[in-house]
Every structure is written in structure tokens, then in C-alpha cells.
Symmetry: C2
Subunit: 250 residues, 2 copies
């Protein structure tokens, strides 16, 4: 298995969007009597995510970056919570940047750094380049480049997104591994010809999570977390050279 | 001057393409009687660079990544040196990767790291995402994301390339500074509304260089090298937060 690049799902797989968004909701409503339940608000905001992208995947709407979809969805969630007039425009824009301020899971940064020693690492997220860039600075994710929806002008799980990432790296899909805590993401990547790596994030949706607790296919690598995946990949004979003043290809 | 992101020319400005390409030419012809003058070969290869892009900028050809233009140009240069039959396909492809193995100038890595502390940094090069990604790993350039020709599907100095970089970061051009050792690159960036930073690379073209020895306009920052530019920017009141577990925007 000669994997030269690993591309990653980010929301849920590498960062804890639920806690991070809830913290920013709390901050936005600090000291106010109309403050919503922050975790419920985060869940509701996230629930608008896939339907908003589906319209674009289905061709009913041209490509719009996720930052803009998030802001539209925020308006809907505020309305659903009876808070349509609670935040003015600048306050909504500030809260929308919650998605740039999500904490990494404990194994994310060391796991990513270990993998980057020998292979190209890049996000392949539905987040825009702008969002991924600022989130990486916040969370300490060291990427080699930023791939994903903006490059393809389409949203996962459309095959175009995975294939655009491989094309941008000038690698055939079989030399690229998609890493995600979501079986659906990996199924689409595998269908596009990529290799796949899975580990669960059993608290992504909170204590009552019922989805993505186990691998649903025989993904090429199945791990307990990102550091475990890095350990397994270390023995897999990578072809990339070590970083820093050494060539990438041997 | 509230600069939130710095985008960089790479070939010449941050890395020494002439020495790096010459070293790979020497390696490709090691121990052979038909070895060309390596620096002359590097200069000839680089001389094909702008004409090849000009056809695409002018609309005479669709977008083709620089990796492919470099390989086409290599064939022309080999022919010009009477070496059309000297290297087989795999050897040409290997030599073409010389552009991924260029050494940084002495001030590049510390200057870039200093600037990255408070601002987003990204290449805005005519090199592809694949080329910039592998070159960054080789040369130790730590980027937040990779922008440039591939994002715009056009070549500098077309305004589309600078504007696509700003759009990808969701920043207005006046919050972005283009940094280059080439006056022509900065003139185009300024015309597109970006801020500009210059320092000379008086040995980019070897000891007899006559171009870009001095700034030809009143660029917003004029420095002696990248570390000097970083020192000047440190006093310029950046708006970006420090990296790692701290938000980018205040």
C-alpha cells in the first residue's frame, strides 16, 4: 500500500465542532436572559448543514462556500429558537466564525504531525479554504496544503471533491487515503478509487451518539484514534520522504 | 495598514531556482560525457517559462499546470542543447521534479515563520498546488494554505490570480500583501488592489543580474530581505491573532 498523501475529514474527525460551537454560542449570549441551550443550539445548527449542501450537490444551486451556508443556517436556527431579533448583523457574523474556533480532539495534533513526517497531509473538508486556514491556525493543525470543497466547487460526498483533491496533488486515487470518522464519507471516497482510513469519534454528537460507532466496511486502515492510525501507517512502507530539506519522493 | 494575510512569489523570491535546478541537471547527467553546462541549462529552462504561460494568459491555450509546461519546456531545452535523445521518459520526468527541490535563501524560513506568528501566509505562485506542496516540504516552508495559479486557472501577472487568492481567504485585496522580489509581479498585484512588499534577490539570475535590483515603485514595504520585512511588519499593527489555540481575528 503505497500511500503518498492522506486527506482528512475535519468537522467531527479532527475537531470537536459540538463543544466548540456551543462555547461560542455561550459567549455570544453571555449574561443574557434569552441565552439558548448552547449544545442544543449547536446540534440544531449542525442539522442544517447537510440539507444546505444537498441543494448544491444536486445542482439546484450554484456553488456557495460553507461560510455563507453557515450564516444562512444561523438565521434559520435563531428563528427556530425564537431569537430572530436577538443578534444584529455584526454579532451574527462574529458568531458564524465559531466554525473557525473548534478545539482539536486530544490525539489530533500529535497524530497529524506524526503522519506528516512521511506523507503529504491536507484537509478534504466541506469547509472553504478560508475556513480551513483559520481553523488550522486556531487548532494547531499543520497542513501541507488545503484541499476540499473550494477546489472542486462541489460538496462531499460528491466524487468530484475526492477526485479534485487527488488531481491537485497529481496523484492517482489509489495513492491517496481519505481519513474520516464517518462511514458515508469513506464509502464515497472508496467508490472514487481512494484508499480509506477510519477511527470512531463516539462523542462527536454527545453522549447519546448512535451513528459511526463502528466501521461499516473493511476500510484499509481501522484504528482507535488518529495516533493509532499513525502508528499503523508507520509500518506500512510509505513512499514519501521525510519533511524538511529532504525530497518528498524517493 | 491592517494586513491579515501575506501571499508570496516563490521562485526567485523564496527559493534559489537557478542553483537548485542546476544541481538536479548535474545529478541527471552525473559521470556522462554529454553533460551540459548545468547553470546554462537552468537559465535556458527558466527562459522558456514566461513564453509558455503567456499563451495561456492570452487565451491561446486552456489552463495547463506548470508541471506540464516545465516538462514541455524541458524537451525544448534538451533539443536546444543537442540532447534530444539523452534522457528517456522516466529520466525526463525525474529531472522535471527539480522544481520541487529548490533550496530556500538563508532568510526565507526564519522570515516566513516570524510573519506566520501573526498573519496568514500562503504562496501565490505560478506553480501548481502539487508543486508548491512538495517544494514546501523540501525547503521547510510552513504555509497556512496554498494559493496561486491552480486556484485561478490562470497565470500571474493576470489580475485573476491575485484576486482569486484574496477571494479564497475571504479578504478584500487591501487586507492582503503580495510579497515578491520582482517589480512586475508587484505592479500587477497593486493594480488589482493589493498591498505590496519588496526586497531584492540580486543573485537570482547569477552574478551578472541586471533586473529587479531596486524597487521601481513606492511599494508599501521595501526591505533588504524577508527577515527585514518581517521586522518591519512586526511594528505595523497586524490584526491576525497569534497562531496555535488563539483566534486569528481579534
Amino acid at each position: 500500500m503505497e500511500i503518498e498523501a492522506l486527506i482528512f475529514d475535519v468537522f467531527g474527525t479532527l475537531v470537536d465542532w459540538r463543544s466548540g460551537v456551543a462555547a461560542e454560542v455561550k459567549r455570544a449570549f453571555a449574561g443574557r436572559a434569552d441565552a439558548p441551550d448552547a449544545l442544543a443550539f449547536a446540534d440544531a445548527w449542525r442539522a442544517e448543514y447537510d440539507p444546505a449542501m444537498a441543494r448544491i450537490r444536486d445542482g439546484d444551486r450554484g456553488y456557495v462556500p460553507l461560510d455563507d451556508l453557515h450564516l444562512e443556517n444561523l438565521d434559520r436556527v435563531l428563528a427556530a429558537f425564537g431569537l430572530s431579533d436577538a443578534l444584529d448583523g455584526p454579532a451574527r457574523a462574529a458568531l458564524n466564525r465559531a466554525w473557525e474556533k473548534l478545539p482539536p480532539w486530544h490525539d489530533t495534533v500529535p497524530g497529524l504531525d506524526a503522519l506528516r513526517e512521511r506523507r503529504i497531509v491536507a484537509p478534504c473538508s466541506n469547509g472553504s479554504i478560508a475556513l480551513m486556514t483559520r481553523l488550522a491556525r486556531f487548532a494547531g493543525l499543520r497542513w501541507d496544503c488545503v484541499l476540499g470543497a473550494d477546489i472542486a466547487r462541489d460538496y462531499k460526498p460528491s466524487p468530484a471533491v475526492y477526485l479534485a483533491a487527488c488531481a491537485a496533488l497529481r496523484l492517482p486515487p489509489e495513492r491517496v487515503m481519505m481519513v474520516a470518522a464517518h462511514n458515508r464519507d469513506l464509502a464515497a471516497a472508496r467508490a472514487a478509487g481512494l484508499r480509506t482510513g477510519f477511527f470512531p469519534r463516539p462523542r462527536e454528537h454527545g453522549p447519546g451518539q448512535t451513528t459511526d460507532l463502528v466501521p461499516e466496511q473493511d476500510w484499509e486502515v481501522i484504528a482507535s484514534d488518529l495516533q493509532d492510525l499513525a502508528r499503523q501507517m508507520a509500518g506500512a512502507g510509505g513512499v514519501g520522504g521525510r519533511i524538511l530539506h529532504d525530497q518528498v519522493d524517493s
